[in-house]
Every structure is written in structure tokens, then in C-alpha cells.
Amino acid sequence: MSKGKEEIEAALGHFIESFATDGYRLDVTGFEEGVLDLRIEAEPGACAECLVPPQIMTGLVRTELRARNDIADIRIRYPDLHD
């Protein structure tokens, strides 16, 4: 894992723990050329209505990482909870 990705994962650690409380797994899946990719996966029994909407989550991540000037875009892949 790259240093930048490790640092981002550490900065988002409390989000990762909060998501786990609701039955979700939040992973930093990539950070290349200023694009940060996150993935949220639902564990068995995850609470569908507990999941923070993508627009708000993107804003929270952007706010949390505001001090970094090397992030140009944030992409978050959400689970399809209708399966």
C-alpha cells in the first residue's frame, strides 16, 4: 500500500469504525493521480437505512481530508442494497 493511501486510511479510521457499527465495511481501494476511491460493502445483517447517503459521505470525507491538497476527486462505491 502506498504511503498516501495508508495515511488516508488512518485519517478515515473513525469512519471505518462507525460503518462497522452499522454492519458495513469501508475500504480505501485506491489513491492514484489525485483520485481517491472508497468502497462500502454490506456485511450480513447490515442496516439498510443506517447507511449515510453518498453525497453526505463524500462531503464528510472531503471535510476530514481538507488539509490534504493532493486529493482532486473522491469516488465512493456503494453497495446495492436491493439485491
Binding site: H14, F15, E17, S18, F19, T21, D22, Y24, C47, E49, C50, L51, V52, P53, Q55, I56, T58, G59, L60, R62, T63, E64, R66
Partner: protein, 176 residues
Amino acid sequence: MELLDPTGQASAGTSAAAPRLSSLEGKRLGLLDNGKTNAVKYLEMVAAILVERYGVGSVKMFHKAALSKPAKRETLVNLVAESDFVVTGIGDCGSCSTNSVHDAIEIEKLNVPAVAICTEAFRLGLDTLTRMRGMPDHRFAIVPHPLGVLFDDELQQRAALAAPQVAEIITGASAR
């Protein structure tokens, strides 16, 4: 050069909070129930303590349509028209805690002091939310996780933890 955020999410500015109350004596308390399991029961327990120990004058419950979304503007306008201060909740999941704090901030912007009750599992994310919403000093009451699955005696214990925090936050009795 000014850099603008195209998402409009991460606010760089700040908003003023509503003035704090000098005391809760005789004041009208509005409760905003988000529909979470145990929310009505828990908010009523907190309100009962605020009436008994702090002399709150009246209590009225309001309800929002969905816990995973912010309250509708109409709901908030009706709420502030009949309240001197507001308690929102309960926040013991990602979306319900986020939206409970969001609702409290929107109520503050309508010039009525408000506090959300959330569980500690989401505290740091909510600190980020208050910065994002332009009210970084906004405070919320924190109790141990969870709330939605507790029995009445456990809920009552959590209510006893929340009520003094609500009183402190609404009256500004302590700094963050």
C-alpha cells in the same frame, strides 16, 4: 485566488448558533423524533428529567418522516414556532446520527437552541459533520452505544446521562 468546492459539501464558512437560554425554567421543549426504534420513549424519558430537575414548562413531540433524511423545512418551522429549545434524536446509527445533528444545526440557524442525542460510536464523524455544516462549535449530547435495542431500565439510565448534557448545552453552562 479563491478555490470553490463544486460539491458544495465542505463548508469553509461558519454560521452563528442561536443564543443560549439563561435557564430551562418554564421553557417550552420541542422533541424531534426521527422514527428510530425507542426514539419516542427515550426522548420522553429525557424530557421527564428536564421537567423534574430543571423546571421545563411544557413538552411537545414532533415527528420527521424518515430517520435517514433531514427533517422537512415545514416540520422545522412548525417546531421552532412552538419551542424555546429542541432536542433531536435518536442518533445511534450512521444516517440517523448524521441527520439528527444536521436537524439540530438547521434549528439553530432558525435561532432556537437545539441539541441532538447520539451515541459515542459516531462522535468523531459528527465532529466532522459540524465542521462541514459550518457550525464547528455545535455540541451534541453523547451517551453509550446503543439506544435502539435497549430495554426500559437501560434506556432510563441513558436518559439520566443525556439530560444534564442537554441542559448544559442549551444554557451554555460549559464550553466544548
